[in-house]
């Protein structure tokens, strides 16, 4: 009997521990972290990396916008704020890190306007500023909850930064926010002659690399860089005018130029 009670106690502790005390493990989202954004069709959200969806607030805190540690109203003093501002730390004490947001886009996290045109320097500065505040190294002596929150926040900021930094991934992300994806099952046939053009570039790249023709490789690089710039301008213009189908087509072409760029880099500056 004693033994049975002990086992029952262990099981109870385990269940209690998992569901009530910690409840910190990031959930594998069955729905998107952006599903609260009603203007977004759910089908558009497959590529968006789930931002640490915590099933509930930490222990005893079912109310959102309340600091899990000190019970402070996080919206206090920012009543004019529409709630879109991302909160990383509790204003009461800079050492209290909040759970990672599951309701903000990467643009909101990085405090950028939702646009393909982006101030890269401002993005980098925001990234450095956030990591200075949130990096897990700062919380190495904090409670396990805070260590986990800071690791989650820091990883979320890393993902937001790397997604927005590169024009191609930024474009894909923006496309997804507007309900479109480039499906990997799509096949391009060569109605416009674009593939033939790309094929010829890849062949000349191979020939130049095999014969060690540096001048030809550099010429290809110059042309490709110009192509990349042009296509990026086209993507920006398409997003500006709200033509997401055109933006998608441009991004599909951009990927070919990026692959050529990488291949050229490998040939011109081979990795050690």
């Amino acid at each position: 009997m004693k033994m049975h009670l002990r086992i029952l106690g262990c099981v109870w502790k385990f269940v209690f521990h998992r569901t009530h005390v910690y409840n910190l493990s990031p959930r594998r989202c069955s729905h998107s972290p952006f599903s609260h954004l009603h203007h977004l069709p759910t089908s558009s959200l497959s590529l968006i990396t789930p931002c640490h969806a915590y099933t509930t607030q930490p222990p005893g805190h079912s109310r959102p916008n309340i600091c899990w540690k000190c019970d402070r109203d996080l919206d206090e003093g920012s009543r004019d704020d529409d709630g879109s501002r991302v909160k990383f730390l509790c204003p009461c004490d800079k050492r209290v890190v909040l759970p990672p947001s599951n309701t903000h886009t990467y643009f909101q996290i990085m405090d950028c306007p939702v646009s393909y045109r982006l101030n890269v320097e401002a993005l980098k500065e925001r990234f450095r500023q956030l990591q200075r505040q949130l990096h897990p190294d700062r919380f190495s002596t904090a409670s396990p909850e805070e260590q986990e929150f800071s690791a989650g926040q820091s990883a979320l900021v890393n993902r937001a930064y790397s997604t927005l930094l590169k024009p191609y991934s930024r474009g894909l992300y923006l496309l997804e926010l507007n309900g479109l994806t480039i499906d990997e099952k799509d096949t391009l046939t060569d109605a416009s002659g674009f593939l033939e053009e790309m094929w010829e570039v890849r062949e000349s790249l191979d020939d130049a690399a095999n014969t060690g023709d540096l001048a030809a490789l550099l010429l290809l690089q110059t042309t490709n860089n110009a192509n990349l710039k042009n296509i990026s301008d086209e993507v920006a213009a398409s997003f500006d005018s709200g033509d997401y189908t055109a933006a998608k087509e441009c991004l599909a072409r951009m990927k070919y130029f990026i692959n050529i760029e990488e291949s050229l880099k490998d040939r011109l500056d081979p990795p050690p």
């Binding site: 480039i182 499906d183 990997e184 099952k185 799509d186 096949t187 391009l188 046939t189 060569d190 593939l195 033939e196 790309m198 094929w199 890849r202 790249l205 191979d206 690399a209 095999n210 599909a252 990927k255 070919y256 990026i258 692959n259 291949s263 490998d266 040939r267 081979p270 990795p271």
Partner: protein
């Protein structure tokens, strides 16, 4: 190795990639990647040649598959070249092996699922086999288009 160079794979990276491959790709993919069959090209202007050029917009791969057809409507030769990942190279290499000796109709029956099964492609790489199926279809269409044109001009 010379094949790999022709396929656009810098040799220095091959050793590194082989290790990665060993861990995550089926041995049949590695075999086709390291010893691709029927790499090359044919003159696309020849009337008995059909050329399929297809691309995958999500990964920027581009694949060319060509067939040569004899007077009886049988595919006597096939060539390919692919700029893409190991699975795309393996899928198109296998596709050229399979279409050889087949009639046009039988070649048109080759399904991406059969290719994927033969190479044990993981779900994330299924689109590579779809690309190979589309390349076969595009080559057949190109050849048939040429024949129709010739018939109409005769």
């Amino acid at each position: 190795m010379a094949y790999l160079q022709r396929l656009g794979v810098p040799l220095r990276r091959v050793a590194m990639q082989s290790r990665v491959f060993a861990a995550s790709y089926h041995e049949k993919v590695i075999d086709h990647y390291e010893n691709p069959r029927n790499v090359g090209s044919m003159n696309k202007e020849d009337s008995d040649v059909g050329t399929g050029l297809v691309g995958a917009p999500a990964c920027g791969d581009v694949m060319k598959l060509q067939i040569r057809v004899d007077g009886d409507g049988k595919i006597v030769d096939a060539k390919f070249k692919t700029f893409g990942c190991g699975s795309a190279i393996a899928s198109s290499s296998l596709a050229t092996e399979w279409v050889k000796g087949k009639t046009l109709d039988d070649a048109g029956e080759i399904k991406n699922t059969t290719i994927a099964k033969e190479l044990s492609l993981p779900p994330v790489k299924l689109h590579c086999s779809m690309l190979a199926e589309d390349a076969i279809k595009a080559a057949l269409k190109d050849y048939k288009g040429k024949q129709d044109k010739m018939e109409s001009t005769c």
